[in-house]
């Protein structure tokens, strides 16, 4: 699975680089660059074909929608993982505190009833 993800990642990077190069060619176009532009456009199509081929290998990967909100805001998506872990830890501590209090109360009640 990690290899399929790496393949997909490299394909996407190549595609983005290709599009960037097309943008540079088009930004200040020269007549002798027409053949190169045509090659780059077809290269874009072949890279899209590669990306579509790797689609079936990563279909079982589930991504939480909240991560997209982080990316849309221009934030690092690793902060979503960090926030999730911090929330889980805080909730764990909260529940543990409740359980400890209930155990303490239970022991006290047990002792008072024994008396």
């Amino acid at each position: 699975m990690s290899s399929h993800l790496e393949i997909l990642e490299s394909s996407l990077e190549k595609f983005i680089e290709n599009v960037r190069q097309i943008g540079i060619i088009v930004g200040d176009f020269q007549p002798q660059g027409q053949t190169v532009l045509n090659q780059k456009i077809n290269q874009m199509v072949t890279l899209m074909q590669e990306i579509e081929k790797s689609k079936c290998h990563v279909q079982d990967i589930q991504v939480p929608l909240e991560v997209f909100d982080y990316i849309d805001q221009g934030r690092n998506p690793q902060f979503y993982t960090k926030d999730c872990m911090e929330k889980a830890l805080a909730k764990n501590e909260q529940v543990k505190g409740k359980i400890d209090v209930y155990r303490f109360v239970f022991k006290k009640f047990d002792l008072t009833l024994m008396r």
Binding site: M48, Q73, G74, N76, Q78, M85, E86, N92
Partner: protein
């Protein structure tokens, strides 16, 4: 004394003092605690045998059971991941996660209509076969030579990574450094540089014009005119 009947039968919620709320769980007898049994008539009724309901000890199989009191991070072997994400300082910008991507990716997606949410809400048309373009189809991509107008130049809008360590001292007291202000500063700096370049071009043109005008004025100066003698005036007699 009524016959004490101890039965370890199934417990019905109906006979429990708490009604239907009591769980049907086999209860363990604990020594040293108060035990009472109740028998109701000839027909055997479901009775409690053992301590009071509230005196019963909770199940003691906490070692294998996962509760809220267990350290879930160590239970799921996530301590290393926790230290990795929460222990180190990470930059909040998307470009730190994807440094190889060109352009300015730290801006919000809704500004340039490139958000992932819009992609989910309005998915593009897909499923069609991807075929390389033929020569006839590529003729549609014939372009005119020359540069693009500035309004369509998006590739030049790249963030300039400046070191703000030395420049922080130069900031005024009213300035508050933050991520957003840095991004704004970077975009503003690019715009300011462009405006400065344009101003320099304009200034150069004006200087050239002024030089030309000065040269023209020098040609038409009185020193030049003095070479050609003026005719003597027939002045009026004084006196």
């Amino acid at each position: 004394m009524a016959d004490i009947v101890r039965r370890s039968e199934q417990y019905s919620p109906k006979s429990s003092p708490r009604g239907a709320r009591s769980p049907v769980v086999p209860r363990q007898d604990s020594t040293g605690t108060l035990k009472t049994t109740i028998s109701l008539g000839k027909t055997p009724a479901i009775v409690h045998s053992g301590p009071f309901y509230l005196m019963k000890e909770p199940p003691s199989n906490t070692q294998s059971e996962r509760t809220g009191a267990t350290n879930l991070m160590s239970y799921h072997n996530l301590e290393h991941s926790y230290n990795k994400f929460c222990g180190r300082k990470m930059k909040d910008q998307l470009s730190t996660f994807l440094p190889s991507l060109p352009g300015n990716i730290d801006t919000p997606g809704h500004q340039d209509n490139s958000s992932l949410r819009s992609l989910i809400e309005k998915p593009p048309i897909c499923g069609k076969e991807l075929v390389p373009l033929s020569g006839v189809q590529l003729t549609g991509f014939r372009l005119h030579p020359g540069p693009l107008p500035e309004q369509y130049r998006l590739m030049s809008h790249q963030p300039q990574k400046k070191k703000h360590k030395n420049k922080k001292h130069k900031h005024k007291a009213g300035d508050t450094p933050s991520h957003e202000s840095q991004q704004d500063v970077s975009t503003e700096n690019t715009h300011e540089k462009k405006h400065k370049k344009q101003k320099r071009h304009d200034e150069d043109k004006e200087r050239k014009k002024k030089k030309k005008e000065k040269k023209k004025k020098k040609k038409h100066s009185p020193e030049v005119c003095s070479v050609t003698p003026n005719p003597p005036h027939m002045g009026t007699p004084h006196g």
